[in-house]
Amino acid sequence: MRYSGFRVLKEALTGHRGWTPAWREPAPQPHYDIVIVGGGGHGLATAYYLAKEFRQHRIAVIEKGWIGGGNVGRNTTIIRSNYLLDGNEPFYEFSLKLWEGLEQDFNYNAMVSQRGILNLIHTDAQRDAFTRRGNAMILNGADAELLSAEQVRREYPFLNFDDARFPIKGGLAQRRGGTVRHDAVAWGYARGADSRGVDILQNCEVTGFRIEHGKCLGVETSRGFIGAGKVGVAVAGSSSRVMAKAGMRLPIESHVLQAFVSEGLKPVLPGVITFGAGHFYCSQSDKGGLVFGGDIDGYNSYAQRGNLPVIEDVAEGGMALFPGLGRVRLLRVWGGIMDMSMDGSPIIDRTHVDGLYFNGGWCYGGFKATPASGWCFAHLLATGTPHPTATAYRFDRFERGYMIDEKGMGAQPNLH
């Protein structure tokens, strides 16, 4: 069923009896050409682009819980392509371009809102770094704009410009950045994939891989063995657990990141602001809640919940930047499990097992990457070669010394 304004009108006049479920609930078949493990944003996007762009058939997405129940429903919904390094920026710009056409492409309202993102500058050194970053973005076809303190003040007059520790001296704006309704991304990709024949198998946990003579023949699941020509794993925070079943140790640690939403307010915050110096970033959802977050808790965790000291730290950062928040009440706090890689950048690559492919290590930046991650992983699965924007995301870059370390922190995942 194609969604349109006409369709809404027609259903409104006929009592909304014509709507059908957005995707099927098929029983697992014994064999597929391609099995994607992980029904989150990246896995569903992979299946969608495999079917739509790469004309592949007989595809299944296997999900332990329900689709959209993991990080695609737990993030702070921001999209942007403000990276510095050559290995990253073309990929994230490709992703942002896909976001711009996504809703028309998969015929689903994902509420893509290019309200702009602003990184605040507090020191001369930061201005130098952001000038360089902005130039790198422009060289890679993205948009970037360096703002003076006065220009920032015109757009965000309510910020604390004269904070003693971090006075605001300007900002780096990316006007095409913004926010997206995150659940709708999972649902839109799921519906688009399903309508092209992809089987989405929920409540189906992978318990192992069947590997013989160095080739992956399929996956053992809680609903029986499912044979596969190729298996692609896109399971974010569970990457190490799942790939351990194929005998692999990954350059990844799992960490918990907390996110927050306040009670609903009238429109107060026009775009996304990031206060890197104070570990705080914030946007306002279309329902009115301020959606914000800060740093990861900093210790290995699979708990999907964090601890109070980080909540206090984020709240302090928010108050330092945005004193008007003082009487706003917090509505919800939650946590998601980040697959923090050793250089802060992702991996989209084949493995030493023939027919087994891996997509992970997204750290806390996976949501914005969803369309390009799906497209590039589909490219790798369908053609056997990496997509031109994802050639740097290799497993062996650590051993060979080709890290993509945006922050220059080295092999210490909790600092990326």
């Binding site: 140790r249 799992s254 290995n300």
Partner: protein, 95 residues
């Protein structure tokens, strides 16, 4: 989280800096033949278990000792705390 320091008693985890897997104590010999792959494994690869995890915490805001904390990464329960010095010595790493 409260870390029960073997010398100081219960301390807030906020006083500590987190390093990671306690296997990092067991640094390979850089002079040995073929130490390249061993260092790749040491520096970059992790077991990253869901469940019990032995890990290094540094008491930066306290007595600046290194601890080996055994903690459950699913529940955040702390099971045992040892001085990293004792652990390293028991592995024969210190004179």
């Amino acid at each position: 989280m409260i870390i029960n320091h073997p010398l100081l008693g219960p301390c807030d985890a906020q006083e500590f800096t987190y390093k990671g897997d306690a296997r990092l104590i067991d640094r390979p010999d850089g002079m040995a033949e073929g130490s390249g792959p061993a260092f790749y494994d040491y520096a970059y690869l992790r077991d990253n278990p869901a469940g019990e995890h032995r890990e290094l915490w540094f008491h930066e805001q306290g007595d600046r000792s290194w601890l080996v904390v055994t903690r459950n990464t699913v529940t955040h329960d702390i099971i045992s705390v040892e001085l990293a010095r004792d652990v390293a010595r028991s592995m024969g790493r210190s004179r």
